[in-house]
Amino acid sequence: MIDEQDRAIARRLTVSYIVWSTIILAASGLLGVVMRLSQAVPQLRVGDNFWYAMMTAHGLGAFVGWAGFAVMGLAWWVLAGVGFPVRGFGLVMARLTWWLMVLGVLGVIITTIFMGFGASWVFLYPLPFYGSGNWGAWATGLFSFSVLLAGLAIVTWCFGILHTVMNREALQSVSGSIGKRLGLAFGWGFLMPRTFAAKKSVPYPVIPLTVIGLDMIIATLPLAGLLIWQIFESMGVVGSANDLLAKNILWWFGHPVVYLLLFPAVAVYYWLIPRYAGRDLVAGHVIAVAWTVAVIANVFVWAHHLYLDYPSGTAQAQINTAMQPITFALVLPSALSLYSLGFTIYRSRFRWTPASTALFFGLVGWLLAGLSGIVNATIALDVAIHNTLWIVGHFHHMAMLNIGLLIFGAVYALLPELSGKALYSERMAWIHVWITFVVGMIFFGIWLVQGLDGAPRRWSVLPSNYDTLTRISLPFAFILAAAQALFFWNVMQTLRGKGGIATFDERGIPEPSKVRKESSVHSIEAAVMIVALALALIFAVGGYLVGRDVASNKDDTPTTTAVETGGGGEGTVTGDAAAGAEVFASSSCSNCHTLEAAGATGTVGPSFDEKKPSEALVIDRVTNGLNAMPAYPQLDEQQIADVAAYVNESTK
């Protein structure tokens, strides 16, 4: 049976995952605010590639490094709570997971923010190898390696979970066979009690953890293969992979990883909601059917992310069509879980605290995000919203207002029993939970509206007709961020013991801190201070970015003047044709233009061999762009002069 030592081990594991995931939330949340700020205020615009590098870090950081990592950590404490100790091999895996995840996320931050890798968190192959000079092979290789570490963290976590849930003693399994124990952990004892015999039925929270433990191994291994391929390709060891296959492999992982957030979160709901309601989870045996559907359906829905890929001569259209019913089948575990959790709360003696309110809001967020997910799952409707900001609204509702609120609720509910210390301020927690839910609904809801209006996703600068709503949403982003500062402060003060010793009521629910605050002004003061600090930090970052942009604009001015007045390309710098050849090759000029000397055969834009453009014309077009030809702000004055000299030399 589980003893005090087992509980101490699980406690340390959960706290170490939670602390680090919270730090990652702070970092990636701040990036998110800067991104929206950059879209809303032209004067505060950051460089385009930097924006996309932030987007890459924000996506991986918030999704995997915060939400995923946090629920993975909560799982250990939930399992200990229902009598499943983490021991032996499982414990080794659990500890290894922490190291792999922390190192992986650090690597992602370094390669994006400091090395400029900006191919987005889905790094759609072969984009990592088409950096247009913004990042090189080193960044691609290191980024792939970092994501591989995070992917391996998921796999080791899965092994740890499976090892833990198959504990024969904890399951009270009659049989010792691996298959029967696994079946019990899947909840099949409810359906076939004779085949899967146990002295007591399996605790409900174990089921979703077992499902995701098996599925994420199946989902992650092909991605690991793709990442290893990318690492070798960045070293020049192997050639190109197949684009469409790589896209399928990415989503083979990319969909189940969403449920790496949801399913452990469901385990936490199954465990905590009954505690606050004061009654057992209302669940029929049929819930085991839904989870069995989930095991299979979860790894066979990837192509709903490729609904709009149906190139001629491939089977992609048929695969996609098959995905709609399978995706609909995945609605069932959510629908049944919400039914069970809803009826567990319905007319119960529910104790409303900040923790339970966050959990309840999390369920509401789950319902609303699930409903927008059904829209995405329907091919005929997806055409209107695919890759628009609607999708961004949908998954922020899911990640922040379902998983995020669950994490906040679980931290408020469990921190006292994990640390032995009472929550520092219940009032601060109330403010945090309400603001996160209400302001989050508005802020993310604006994305849904913009998406329905066709606003494209992943654009550092949106077309101007979407500006009004973008600006309206900005204050909500600030308020949302400031509310999270309350959470960080509250957790920090709690861990410092400022709330005194934890006490619990008869249901195990933590009671408010008994430490008398000198006056209620105290917590308000803290709140004001945190908000001010958060705003100062945001404006400081904003100010730095403005300064940087103004500085770089100054550098650009002489080029334009020189071209305008000189007229003959004899600007302040002289071009070097040899260096220009490299610029030509690395800036994907050959995609659109023909230049025999460079082996370029593009037919989109004018052929240099025919037009023989002057140096001044090349400098002007590369600097300012014209129609389909984009400007290349990533090239400096010297590089542009070089490429102009090269084109001129080669066509003489």
Partner: protein, 177 residues
């Protein structure tokens, strides 16, 4: 004039109704805890979960049947079709229509990418997104659409393709037949 397409209107109405219903149910559950039940009815609710499962299956099946026939796959422009070639590169579109595109006759857009994955998103002259599809390198993507009104249509890239993704836009003309 409405700025969104018909599909967007359908989504807006359906999702709004779903959100209102969902919020009402959530609020009812919240309110119900102020008058807790004395007797334990968990057994009845647990058994009714099977009924709920059946309701969900029927609802989802109806939604599936109501929508699956509207997939954009396998469409052809037919003998009167107009063919337009679209090529995407980082960060520009080339649209090659041999004759002027006219309204009322199906247009087959044959799209290709020269480098990374792109997305062809076509917006009608008054603003809304009317159709889109993804393009990966080395595969030809066929998209069929019949224009009903003449004017200048905008193409935006709808798959992230690098630092100049948001610059990847162009326009084309559709003339009255």
């Amino acid at each position: 004039m409405l700025r969104v397409s018909h599909t967007a209107v359908i989504i807006t109405v359906a999702y709004s109704i779903a959100v209102i219903l969902g919020s009402a149910i959530s609020f009812a559950i919240f309110r119900s805890t102020s008058r807790p039940l004395e007797e334990d009815r968990s057994g009845v609710w647990s058994r009714r979960e099977t009924t709920w499962l059946v309701i969900m299956i029927v609802t989802l099946f109806a939604l599936l049947m109501g929508t699956i026939f509207y997939v954009p796959y396998g469409e052809t422009a037919g003998p009167r079709g107009q063919v337009v070639r679209v090529v995407g590169v980082q960060y520009a579109w080339a649209i090659d229509a041999p004759q002027p595109i006219v309204t009322g006759r199906p247009v087959a857009f044959l799209a290709r990418s020269r480098d990374v994955a792109h997305g062809v998103g076509v917006y009608n002259p008054s603003g809304p997104l009317i159709f889109q599809a993804q393009v990966v390198a080395d595969h030809e993507q066929k998209i069929v659409h019949t224009f009903s009104e003449p004017g200048t249509y905008t193409v935006h890239c709808l798959e992230f393709c690098g630092a100049g993704h948001h610059l990847m836009s162009t326009t084309f003309e559709v003339k009255a037949a």
